[in-house]
Symmetry: C2
Subunit: 548 residues, 2 copies
C-alpha cells in the first residue's frame, strides 16, 4: 500500500453512496489517502435528490487552495461541478497551481442524476469542455452525458450502438482530453455486436472481464450463453488506441453512485502510474464487483459495496510501542493457562529449593526424551523451509538442542543418572502427548503452524527464567538462590544465552505474521495451537510433580 493522495472535487451525498462520500470510500478501500473539495451539499438518498445547497465559487477555490498548498496530490477527479462559475473556478485554480504539470485528472462530466435532478447548470457544459477538458487525462461520460457534450459542440450525437460509441468517443477525444472512457451501461450490446465491431476494426483491443477466456471450458457455467447474454461494453479511446472492456451486465438495483465510484477508482489507479487501459480495467472491475456484492440499503437505488476488496487484519502491525502484537495476543488469549504454566508449583518449589529430588530427576529424564521430539520437530521445520536461511536457522537450533542434551546428560550424571538410564526411561504420556503433538502440527500445517507449536516451550521457559530472576531480586524474596540445588537451572533459563534465543524466537514469530498476515481462520488456528502447547507444558510440570 502506498500513501498516495487523491483529491475529489464534487458534491456531497448525505446518504453516502455517491459524491465525495463514494470517492472517499473508494480511495480508502483501495489504500489511498483521500482529500475532498465540496462543490455543493445535497440532501439525497437512494430515492432521489431532495435538495441542493451549492457552495459559492470562492469557497470552492479556497478549499482547493487549502488542499493543494499543503498536500502533494497524485491524482484528481471532478464530479458534480454545479455551474459555470464553479467549473471556471476549479479549472482556473488547477491551472494557476500546477501550470502544465497537473497530476492525472479524471473528469466525470456529471450533468444529471440518475433520478433526473440537474447537477450541472446547462451554461456550464461549454465551460467544462473548453476549460476543464484540455486539462483532463480522461473524461468518463455515460450515454446521456456523451449526447449532451457532443450536441453542445454540434457533433454527431447518436449513441445507441457499439458502432456509435466508437464514433462518439473519437469525437469526444477531439474536445481536448488525453483519453475518453465512454461508459456503455445504458447501451444494449451482445457478444455478437462485439465480434462484428472487432472484425470491422482490427486495431480494436477487446478485454473480456468476467467472461471466459481461452482454455477455460471447465469454468463454463451452465447458464452462461455468452452469445446471447446482454453485455456492458465500456470504450476507452486514446489518441492511438481503442480498447473495449466487455462484461456481463448485472441486474441490480444497487447502482447509486456507479459513475462516481468508477471515476474515483480510475483516479486511484492513475495516481499509481497505471496506463489508461490498466487503470480502466482495475476501475471497471472494482465498480462491477461493487454492484454485484452490494447488500440492499435504502428503499430506492442503493449504493455499491465499496468495501469488497477489504479484509480486516487479525493481528495489528508491530509498532515501536507494541513490537510483539502476535505473541502478546496469544498470551492474552489464554492468559490463565499461560500463568498456570509459567508460575507452576513445580517452578515455585524449584526456586525455593524445596522441590523433591525425585520430582526433579523425573522431570530431567522426561525432558531428555522430550528434547528428542523437539530436535526432530526442528528437523521437520528444516524440511518444510523454503530458503537456505530458514533451513540454516532450523538446523542451528537442532545443533543447540543436541549440545544442550550433552550438557543435560552431564548434569544428570551429577545427579546420579547415567546416560543408559536416561535412554531406558519409559516415556510418560505427558511427554508423548506434547512431543507428538508438535510433530503432528508440523505434519498437518505449514512451517508457520509448526513455529507456533514450538513457541510455547521456547518462550515459556524464558518467561519462567525472567520471572524467577525478578522475584529473586525483591527485598524479601521467596526465591532462594544460595544453596539451592536447582540454582543452575534458574541461571540457565534467565541467562543471556537462553534469553537471546527467546528474543530471536519472538522476532521470527512476529515476522511470520507481518510477511503473511493470517486470515481470521489461520489466526484462530494459531491461537489454538498456542493454547494447546501451553496446556501441554503445564501438563509436563504436573507430571514432574506427580511422578506420573
Amino acid at each position: 500500500m502506498t500513501s498516495n493522495a487523491v483529491l475529489t472535487i464534487a458534491g456531497s451525498d448525505s446518504s453516502g453512496g455517491a459524491g465525495i462520500q463514494a470517492d472517499l470510500k473508494t480511495f480508502t478501500a483501495l489504500g489511498c489517502y483521500g482529500t475532498s473539495v465540496v462543490t455543493a451539499l445535497t440532501a439525497q438518498n437512494t430515492t432521489g435528490v431532495q435538495g441542493v445547497y451549492p457552495t459559492p465559487p470562492e469557497f470552492v477555490e479556497q478549499q482547493l487552495r487549502s488542499v493543494l498548498d499543503d498536500v502533494e496530490i497524485n491524482a484528481i477527479k471532478t464530479g458534480m461541478l454545479v455551474d459555470a462559475d464553479v467549473t471556471r473556478a476549479v479549472a482556473r485554480t488547477l491551472k494557476s497551481h500546477y501550470g502544465a504539470a497537473i497530476p492525472p485528472l479524471v473528469c466525470d462530466p456529471v450533468c444529471v442524476s440518475t433520478s433526473g435532478h440537474t447537477l450541472l447548470h446547462p451554461d456550464a457544459v461549454d465551460v467544462m469542455i473548453s476549460e476543464l477538458f484540455p486539462l483532463a487525462a480522461v473524461v468518463t461520460p455515460n450515454k446521456a452525458e456523451a449526447v449532451l457534450l457532443l450536441s453542445q459542440r454540434g457533433l454527431p450525437s447518436r449513441v445507441d450502438t457499439l458502432e456509435d460509441m466508437l464514433v462518439a468517443s473519437r469525437n469526444l477525444l477531439s474536445l481536448g482530453p488525453r483519453a475518453v472512457l465512454l461508459k456503455g451501461g445504458h447501451i444494449t450490446t451482445t457478444m455478437d455486436d462485439v465480434r462484428k465491431v472487432a472484425a470491422a476494426h482490427p486495431h480494436i483491443q477487446v478485454v473480456r472481464e468476467g467472461l471466459l477466456g481461452e482454455n477455460m471450458e471447465i469454468l463454463q457455467v451452465a447458464e452462461q450463453d455468452l452469445s446471447k447474454r446482454v453485455l456492458v461494453v465500456d470504450a476507452l479511446q486514446e489518441a492511438n488506441a481503442i480498447t473495449l472492456f466487455v462484461r456481463p451486465r448485472i441486474d441490480s438495483k444497487s447502482t447509486h453512485g456507479t459513475g462516481c465510484t468508477l471515476s474515483a477508482a480510475l483516479a486511484t489507479a492513475l495516481s499509481r502510474g497505471k496506463t489508461f487501459a490498466e487503470a480502466t480495467r482495475a476501475a471497471t472491475a472494482y465498480t462491477h464487483l461493487g454492484i454485484e456484492t452490494a447488500e440492499p440499503i435504502g428503499s430506492g437505488h442503493g449504493p455499491l459495496n465499496h468495501l469488497h476488496p477489504i479484509l480486516i487484519r487479525s493481528v495489528p502491525q508491530p509498532t515501536e510501542s507494541n513490537p510483539h502484537p502476535l505473541v502478546r495476543s496469544m498470551i492474552e488469549s489464554s492468559r490463565s493457562i499461560w500463568k498456570a504454566y509459567v508460575e507452576h508449583d513445580f517452578v515455585k518449589q524449584l526456586a525455593m529449593g524445596t522441590l523433591p529430588r525425585e520430582c526433579f530427576l523425573h522431570f530431567l529424564k522426561q525432558d531428555y526424551l522430550y528434547l528428542k521430539y523437539y530436535a526432530r520437530a526442528y528437523g521437520l521445520l528444516a524440511a518444510k523451509s523454503a530458503t537456505f536461511p530458514a533451513i540454516e536457522t532450523a538446523t542451528r537450533t537442532i545443533i543447540n538442542v543436541v549440545t544442550e542434551v550433552s550438557m543435560h546428560t552431564a548434569y544428570c550424571a551429577e545427579w546420579g543418572v547415567s546416560e543408559q538410564e536416561l535412554a531406558a526411561t519409559p516415556e510418560s504420556p505427558a511427554t508423548t502427548a506434547y512431543g507428538a503433538y508438535i510433530l503432528d502440527a508440523g505434519i498437518q500445517g505449514d512451517s508457520a503452524r509448526l513455529v507456533m507449536a514450538l513457541a510455547a516451550c521456547l518462550l515459556g521457559y524464558g518467561e519462567v527464567g525472567l520471572w524467577l530472576k525478578r522475584e529473586a531480586a525483591r527485598p524479601d524474596t521467596w526465591v532462594k538462590l544460595e544453596d539451592n540445588p536447582y540454582r543452575r537451572w534458574i541461571d540457565d533459563y534467565s541467562g543471556a544465552n537462553y534469553q537471546a534465543a527467546v528474543k530471536l524466537g519472538l522476532e521470527t514469530i512476529e515476522a511470520l505474521a507481518v510477511a503473511d498476515p493470517p486470515s481470521p481462520q489461520r489466526y484462530r488456528e494459531w491461537l489454538k495451537v498456542w493454547e494447546r502447547c501451553t496446556r501441554l507444558e503445564k501438563g509436563f510440570w504436573d507430571m514432574g510433580l506427580g511422578l506420573m
Copy 2:
C-alpha cells in the same frame, strides 16, 4: 463484516484528516457503511483552518431527514455543530425522528480546533448540554472541552490531574449522557499516578493497552520503564462504573483529527452492540495505532493513518458472474504454459488418431506410475486434514484412483501390456519430477498448498476432455472420433463422471480461498505451485511424445 450503517453529523475537512472525512474513513476501515450530514464546509489543511462556510440549519435538517427517512442507522456521532441553531436543529430532528428509541449517539463536543479556530459558537454550548447531551449515549470531551462544559454549568472545572479527571467526568455525567469518555491526551500522567488513583478508588477498573500485563516479562522492551513513562489515560465514566484506559503516550505530529477519529470508531463499535468499555477499548486502540502508524502528510499536524486495520484481498470474492475467481486467476497468471499443456501436440495427435502406438503405451505406463504418487498425495492430504469430512473426501479420491488404476491395468492389457510389465517399467524423470514435486508440496506446506499442487492434473485433464469434445462437435472438425484407437481416453475425460470430479475440485479450491483468504505472499505461492505443476504436466506429455 456486518453492513451496519453509521451516521456522522459534522463539518467537512477539505484536507481529509478530520471531520466527516475522518469519520467516513474510519467507518470504511472498520467495515461499516458511512452516511454524513455536513454542518459546515471548512477550507483547512494540516497547518490550520483557512475558512469556514456554515450550512444553514434548515439544510442540515434536510440532509438529516434524507438520511434518516431512507437508511436504517445503527449509531450516530456528532462533531462540529457550528452554532446554537444547528445544534438545536440536529437535536430536534433526532428527537422527532426517533422519539425515545434513538440509536447509540456519540457526542464529540467539538468547540475549538487544535489550531485555535472556534468551531462552535459560545452560545451553542448551553444548547448542546441541554438539548443533545440527554440524547447521548456517550460524550467525549478532551481537557479543554471538559473545562468549557463544566464552567458553563458552574461546576468545578479544574482538569489538571487524574484525580481531577475523576471528579470532572462524574460532573459531566450529571449533565445527561449515559456515559462520559474524558480524554486525557492533554493531561500528564505516569504509572505512579494511576497506581495511586487505583489504590484510592478500589472500584476503578484499569485497562492497560500497549503496556505489558502479567507474565509478559519476555516482551519487556528495554527502553520501556513504565513507572517513568508518560502515559495517556482516558477515563470512561458510566453511572455505576469507571474505567481508566492507560497507554504510553506517542510522540507524533500526526494528530490532526484524533478526536473525530476516536468518536467515529466509538460509534462504529457501539453500532455493533459493544458495551461502553469494549467500544472504548476498541476505539482508543484504533486511534492510537492510527497515530503511531501515520506517515507524514502536509507540513503541519498531519492526519492519522485510518487504513491500518485494512488488508487488500488477493483474490476477489466469488460472485454469480465470477464463481471461480481463484482458478480463473491461476489460469490467467500462467496462460501460455496452461495452453501449451491442455492443447499439447500429444493430445492433438491422440484426438486425430495419429499418435504413434508406442507413444501412447509409454504414456500409459508412466501414467500408472504417476498415479501411485497421486494416490499417496491424497493419503498425505488425509493425514493433513482437520475434519472427518476432509479426511473422507481425500480418502474417497484414493479409492477412485485405485479403481481407475484397475481399469487402467485392464486397458493396458487390451494394448498388450501386462500388469507385471507395468510394475517393472522404469520411471521416467518427468514422472518422478511431477510425482515427487506434489509430495514435496504436501510436506512443505499446509493442506491448501497440497490441494493447489493436485489441481493442475485434475483440472487440466478436464479441460482437455471438454476442449476435444467441443472441437469434435464443429462442422469440419480435425478431431477424429470414429475408428480412433484412443477414443475411449477422450470419452473418459470429457464424460460426466470425470467432469463431476472437476466440478467438485473447483468448488473445493474456491472454498479454500473463501474460508482462509490468502495474503499476497500465500497467493503468490499458490500461483507458483500451480504454474510449476502446469509445466510438469506439459513435461509429462513431452515425455510421452519423445519416449523419454
